[in-house]
Amino acid sequence: MMDDSELRRRFAQLREADGERAPSFAQTYGRARARRSWRAALRMRPLAIGAAAAVAIAAVWLAHERSFSPSAVTPTIATWRAPTDVLLRTPGSELLGAMPALGTSVLDTMIHTPSNRGT
């Protein structure tokens, strides 16, 4: 039966062989720290994606709002005229809109003669 000292000797040899293959502490620790930085960056990724999405949504919303907002030249309700008002202007509407005077002819207002040009 193999005694403990023989086993210890063999394990010591194994330990020595492992020690030769072992990476340095600085190397392992440095890589662990690098992984920590990388993980921290990865942890921030959802936040960055969320912030970018929020900015994009806000930009789209603002652009949409601007395209439908009333501009400065929009007339008020008092001055507004319907675009179809032009259809109500009929030929001779000037004659119908003025009060006829006694002793004058409608034709005088339409024909500019030297006599009525001065009036």
């Binding site: 193999m2 394990f11 194994l14």
Partner: protein, 170 residues
Amino acid sequence: MDEVELRRQLERAHADCFGWAMACCGRDRDDAEEVLQTVYLTVLDGRARYDGRSSFRTWLFGVIRRTAASERRKAWLRGLLLKREADGLKPEAPAPPDAEVERDSRCHSLRYALAQLAARQREVLQLVFYHDLTVDEAAAVMKVGVGSARTHYARGKARLATLLGDAREL
């Protein structure tokens, strides 16, 4: 414990930790280094805290053992999901000896004999003979009762002696 003190303690235990990580990773150097990095990261992040109930080394060995087991499970799941049996589970037994690494045939026979033991027996023998822990400390690392650790120790030692005796005769 602040980070400077933590780093000092880790540096002091580094060589020992690497040996234990090798034992927990089927003597695969790359896996052992990966596990050790994960352990340092876990300790630095405060996800594993030393509470002073045992020695720092015993506590750290426990963290290494848990981390190695977790990495083995992940590797197994990856292998299962990717259906790549070839890259899946690593065999418990060490690969055939590399001439450059295995300069000492005695080391190889010990590694081979250790690989034939049950996991608990291998762990307790590694902790006692390689790392000079007591059986009680080994039990704390392995999270088993002292009585159970003593049984594994006795049976493992007898089996190891037989295996090494057989190897010597060959």
